[in-house]
Every structure is written in C-alpha cells, then in structure tokens.
Amino acid sequence: MTTATATPEEPKLTKKALTADHPTWCPGCGDFAVLASFYRALEQLNYPHENIVTMAGIGCSSRFPYFVNTHGGHFIHGRSVPFSAGISLSRPDLTVFVFGGDGDGFSIGGNHLDHVARKNVDLTYVIMDNQVYGLTKKQTSPTSPEGFKSKTDPWGAIDQPINPMRKLVNSGATFVARSHATQVKHMVEMIKRAAEHPGFAVVEILSECIEFFPGAFDSSVKRKGGEFITIDEEEHDKTDLTAAMTLASEPWPGRFGVYLEVIRPTKNAMEDALNAKAQAKAGTSAPAELLKSTFAKMR
C-alpha cells in the first residue's frame, strides 16, 4: 500500500504499542507466530498508528484484531473482505489489513475474495490456513485433504479440496504469496511486501492447528524431516500468470514465496480518475451547486 510513513517527530511504532489482549488461541497454535510476524512487519513499515486498520471475519484466526492495538474489528463470517474494501475505497488515508482462515476465505467468503481481488481494491489479505474448522471443533474445511478424518467426515474427507494458490493466482489478485507459520522471517517479508504492494495483495500462511490437525504442515518443516522450499525469484517470472499457475499446481507441499506480482491500476485509483473527469465536466465539486444544477434540469 502507499500510505506515507510517520513523520520523524512521531514515536516509532513498537510492538508494545501494538499489543492488545493476550491471544486466546491454544498453546502451540501456529497463529501466534503470524501475530508476532505482523507486529514486526508493522514496526518496520512504521505507518501512522491511527491509520492502520486490522479487520477479520469469523473463526479462530479471525480473533486476530483483538490482539492488535489498532483500529479494527471483527465482522461477520466470510464478509470481512468486502467490508474492508469499503474502508479502503472510502478512506485512502488508511492502510487496511484483513485476517481470516480457510473457512472464512475459501468457503463462506470464496466468492467475495474473487470479486474484490479482480477489482484490485488496495488492501492486504492474510489467510491463515489450518485445513480444518477449529473454532467449531474439527469439521472438514474446504482445504482439508482427501481422507482427513473429522467430525463431519469420520471415515475421511471425500470431497476434493480447494488448491488455495491456484484459486488465488486465478482470482485477479495482483500480489499472491505463500508462507509458513514456522518461518517468521519469511512471513515478515511476505506481509511487508504485500502491504507495500498497490492493489489487492494476498498472503496464504500455512498455520498449524495443534488441537485438531497437528502435523498437517510438517512436510515443509526441517526439524520434522521436511523441507521448506522457497521460490527462486530470479528464475520465476512473477508477472507470468501461467508460470504462477504451474507453481501453484506443484504437488504438496509445494513452494513458498511470491507466486505473482503484477502492477495493474487499483480500483481506488480508477475511481479517483473517474471522479476527476466527472468533476471537470460538471465544472464544480461544490455539493449545493451540483444539486442546484440537477434540479434545474428537472424543472
């Protein structure tokens, strides 16, 4: 995003100033590390404190805003993305972050994600994917792998899961990245780059649910015998949709880093341009004068 950084005389944004309630997540939840990474990213980005907005929908990860001392809120399930797009479009002075889980983003809010992404509304969306419904205590989620045993699929999930990276690459988002909750440095970098990107930027973070799907992401964790494979940005053309789709189609666990990064006019900028044109044509932007000229045509 493009918000100016704080003026030099303002105190620097610190983790202390950004900390709110102690998280209610279960001990060992991957989301703690996402939160820590967000604090660190904000410290480094150093936006004016009052201009940061932290929004979320419903789910374990969507409790996020209560743990961050910024303006923000907790909207209804699945609709925090259009809510936040409303903030972004009506208040260009703000920097808007949205947090949510795989249920919020890919199931109940799946359609909103695609449409706000294609409009390229200027905001940053962090999806914390744990491949299970945690807050409601272990039902199958849209990203649960086939065979995953849950309370709604005791015999193992039979529906094909969503491939988040394919969905995101295809959505029209202009920045698409993937990270892992065991990789704080990587998360900080991805969140920062997403925040600085003009337009709809989304970061999917694999964040383990210690309670209902432990070990889900071990295959990318070195000390669990896996490997954290990053994208070589010298090799991968981030402006190439087909290359991004090919990466997204790699077998599980796939790679981490920036899949797509393109510059396309934001809806925010295009609406501004339309407004400037309409105001130039009308010859005024004084509301009372505009209304009077409309009434004159109705006489």
Binding site: N51, H71, F75, L94, K277
Partner: protein, 615 residues
Amino acid sequence: MVSSNTPDSASDDASSAGATKSLNDVVIRMAGNSQDGIQTIGAFLARLAGRSAQDVMTYMTIPSTISGGPSIFQVRMGTGDILSSGDEADFLVAFYEHSYENHIGALRKGGVLIYDSDHVNPDTSDIDCLAVGVPITSGTIEAVGGSAKEKGKNIFVLGLLCRLFDLEVTKLTRLITEKFGKFGEDVIRNTMLAFDAGYAWPADNIRDAYFKLKPAEEASGHPQITTDGNTAMTLGLLTAGVRYGAGYPITPWSTIMETLRTELQKYGGVFVQAEDELAAVSYAIGMAYSGHTAITGSSGPGLSLKMEALGWATMAELPLIVINVQRGGPSTGLPTNVEQSDLMQAIYGSHGDSPRIVIAPQDVEDCYYIAIEAAKLAKEYSTPVIILTDQALASRIEAFDEPDVDKLHIDPTPDLSPQGEDFKPYPIEEITRHAAPGTKIEGAPYPTVTGLEHDEHGHPTGNPALHMKMTAKRRDKLRKLARELPRPEIHGDDSGDVLLVGWGSTYGPIREAVIRGRNQGQKIGHVHIRHLNPLPPELERIFSRYRQVFVVEMNDRGLYGYGQLATLLRARYANPAIRSITKTDGLAFKVSEILQGVEALSGERNVNVSNYPDV
C-alpha cells in the same frame, strides 16, 4: 378524421358532461407495449405539467420481460392537490387491440377513447364513450419517412394530446430537445416531424366538447421540479451528504444505484456495484465504519440476504441507510408490482434482538426528505435505518417545490478529532459515539468493532449482566427516539366514526378517500405513519377518538386476519377497534377500493378489497 363510429348517444352524454363539468384535472391512460415509449410521453406530460405549475401524478406498469409485453402509463394533471393517479381514466389511448380490450374498463363513463386505427378496430356500440380512430402508425410513418418506420408514434400521440389540451408547445418542444439533443440533429428533426403531425391532426371538436384544463394559478413563485420517487430519494441522499454506498441490481431498486453510481463521481464519492447483496451491505457497513453516512439498498429478496450483516450493524451500532423498494413477494414474486409486505421483515428481519429504525415516505416529495431524515437519524442514534419505499413510489412521477439545498445540505466530512484516555465507544448510559479509523487515541486502547457482545470499550464479553445492559442500551435509544418523534398529523375529522391509518405510498389515495367520504357526510379521519419503528407518540389517544380504526395496507391479512401494520398496532395498543383493509393484487389502492373497504367493514370481517374474488 374524427371517428365515424361514435355512437350518437355516447356523444350526447359526453358533451353534456363536458358542458357541466369544468375540468380541474384530467386522467390520461396510455396503453401499448413496453417498447413503444409510452413512458417517455408520460414523463413529458408530467414534466410539462410541473413546468406549468400544475400538479401532476403518474402511474405506470412495466412488464418484467426485457422488451415487449403490455405496458401502461397513466398521468393525472391539473390544478390543486393531485393526491392519486386517478381511479378511472378520462382519456384512453390504445395502441393495440389488446390495449383496448384490457383497458377500456378503466375508461370512465363518457370518456374519450383514442385508438390506433391501423391496429385496433373496436366495437364500442355498448360502451358509453367517444371513440376516435386515429391512424397513429401510418400517420407517423408518413410524417417521418425513411428508415425510422413506426418509431416516433409515441411522439405523434404527444403532439395530438398537446393540441387537445392546449398545452404549451414551446415548453414541450424545449423538453423534447433537452431529452433527444444528445442523439443528434436527425433524431430531433424526426421527433419534431412526428410531433407536428400529431399536433396537426384535426381533433378540435373533441377538445371543444370535452377537455379544457383550467390554467394553473401561478403558484408561490417557487419553481417546481418533476421527478420520480427513486430519483427524489437519490437526490435526498446526495443532499444528506451520502457519498459512499454499494448495491446489487434488482428491480425496482436498480435505478437508485444507477443514479448514485454516476452522480457520486461529481461529489467525489464512490458507489460500488458489488458481487451480491451480502457483499453490498458489507461494503456499505465498511464505509460507515470509516466515518461516512453510507447507503445500501435493494428490493425484498435482497433485503432478506442483507439481514445477517444488518444484525451486525445493530450490534456494533454503526449508522447505515438501507433502502428497500418493496415489490410483490414472497420470493421473486411480482417484481414489477407494488406491495407493502416487507414491514415485518424490515422491523424484525435479523436474528436476535436487533432493533433498528424503520421509516416510510408517503409520496415522491417525501422520498427526498425522508432520505435526509434517515441520514440524520442513522448518525444521531448510531444505528441502521431502513427506508421502506415501494414500486409505486419508485416509478411514479410527481411535481413538487424545488428543495432549498443551501439550507438542507449536510457536510459529510468524517469527524476524526483525537480522543483521550476516557474514550469509550459504547457508554451504557449514552448513545454510542464511534471514533472512525484515522482518529488518534491517546492513553486508551484503539477501539474494536464487533458482532460479539461487548463492554463499553468494545471488548468481547459473555457476561450475562452486561448482555442484558447492552441489549437494553440498543433498545432504549430507540425508545428515546420514539419520545422525540413528531405527533402524526390528522387529516379530515379529528374524531368520529372511522380513522384510516396508512403508511408509505397509500398516502394520496387514503387522503382522497377521506375527502370523498366527508363529502358524502361521513365522520372520517386519516393518520399516516411515517415512523414505523419506533412508532410516534400519541397514537393511542388519537385511536381512542374514533369508533373504528381501519389500517389500509397492500399486504395479506395473514393467518389471524390482520395486515402487517394492523398486527403491530393491535399488539402495541391492544385496541380491538383496529381492523384491516388489505389487498394483494399488486396494484396501488384506488380511492374507490378504500371507500368500499370502509363500507364493508361495518360488518365483523376484515376485507380484501381488490377487484378479484375474496380469496
């Protein structure tokens, strides 16, 4: 030439009627197909009447098919208060056989039928009217020539009517030029050729025998504007400082979002066409959270989809304007007809105890002012406000005094003044005051808005005592509003036999029914309720002054015999004198239907007063 098949007797009747009745107003119904542009002539006539300081009201039906299918436009214009679009037409213009067959019943005894003799061959021998065949189609083709074919026959009819009613040609041609100017010289020339041909049609004998509109007295000197309810509502929103909103297309709400989409650009705002109703209300609440007076809207089915988010706005106590242009329901129902069947949904539609403000405009002018009031109420009480308008108001054209925007305009700039350590967005004893993002908060935590029950700082809590307090807080602010609302005005007798109670677009027909009833010697009054939730003060006392209280509304009388408002009023006041006059035929109330209802209700049963069998 003037019809040769006019029955002599009808002609005699009609001319004697014409001689005795000096016309204050005239009702003209045009019936054709939707692609004939009859709405265009109707709108021209309405705007012309407005420019001539004559009062005007229109009524139209459009088929929900994309193009084609029968369509009518009825315009009533004249001097004095025009309260309804008229039960019967004085003048019927029939473009096709089906137009003639379906609408001849709407022509009053002794009225004038003009039919397109190229398409219609009516047998009017049993009908008391003056039938005049005019070759509208061939006359237009002859006049315009070329490739335009019969396009422009609406304008031919406009010329004819202009001649018949001695309307001001210069004003009308100016209107035509304004409307068609953007299409270029050729279109204007063809339009004027059609107009002139209609105007030149030798129909003087009809005019002399029948219709001479009294010239309108030059009114207050205040210029009049002529527009429809949806446009008036949109202008009210702009006046109220509404700069941001979101919606999804649905008839008959769409024209509000179309106008806002283009108009808001001039004001530096944004209207978002969202992917669905759920997103639309979410965008709008996000804009409201950002410190703006934001708006979303829809029609019945869309309002249902918005309900969850509206409950959130009640819980988080954010100001929001929601417009519901009611149409026939349930489900897809009658998309291009009118009904007032969303009242309960508007008041009680969300889950949980989620009180909100519900108001309804009573005519086109009121659509403008109620939008401003909605913005003020939403802000002052920090809560969603639903405006219940309807299909009849949405498309009806009326003339009214041009609003004084210098006085009315509200500055929309969000208040971002810094807050100190005592800042609490949700004080239990006071009305919620949000600090929009961008507000510096010094010495206190930044506020969180949430759908969870919360404490005074907005922090989530499951504390039972606090939930009770907060539920009461959200309810009590509406009770405070109820005490401050103006006492409803009574029209007609302020005590007596019958009080008619209405809401929304039935205002005009009910007022006219009361005037007619009193002329017939009835002791009858009318109260119109603009504030439906909460209800205004003193209704109980007003009701007690009448022997009978009949609630007139366009919805079903339900399982227990009462319409939706009647049910609420009976629950609220426990007054057995409250009964229902309802109908569900998808058409606006006729004055005569209301009077029939009053008469029939002398029995013990509630009545359905449409022209259809009591079902």
